[in-house]
Symmetry: C2
Subunit: 80 residues, 2 copies
């Protein structure tokens, strides 16, 4: 089963953004994913991983919740 | 480091409630916890675990976000 991680910079105040991603993934896939983990970090980090594979890194990608959800989709089982 | 799990019933529509708990824990403790995982489940489940220990189970406890945050606190490092 799929684990999605959203690692975000706590001192930068990125909780809202991380939370938006978690919600969007869970609303879209529900039990198609096993869990979405909000992982605390610092130093400006904002990375989304699916089963360990980076699907979004704010240093390389433009922030777009829908694009992140689309990037998760291929990792989700037939239940989605 | 501390892992908090919020396992919730997807078909029951408990995502909002699970999300509220995750946010409250992260707002309170930030990097004092390593991660808060929203774990998908069914069959009416709503359980919060801290490092594997159940601190809230809706079949036994009244739902109270503040009480859940207080139950997490002893598990959080000195950073909190």
């Amino acid at each position: 089963m799929t684990r999605v991680e959203v690692e975000y910079c706590v001192p930068c105040g990125m909780l809202n953004r991380a939370n938006d991603v978690a919600r969007a993934v869970l609303e879209q896939f529900g039990e198609g994913v096993e869990e979405v983990a909000l992982v605390t970090g610092d130093d400006g980090i904002f990375i989304v991983r699916v089963d360990g594979e980076v699907v979004f890194d704010k240093t390389e990608d433009d922030y777009d919740v829908d694009a992140i959800v689309r990037a998760v989709k291929p990792h989700v089982g037939a239940a989605a």
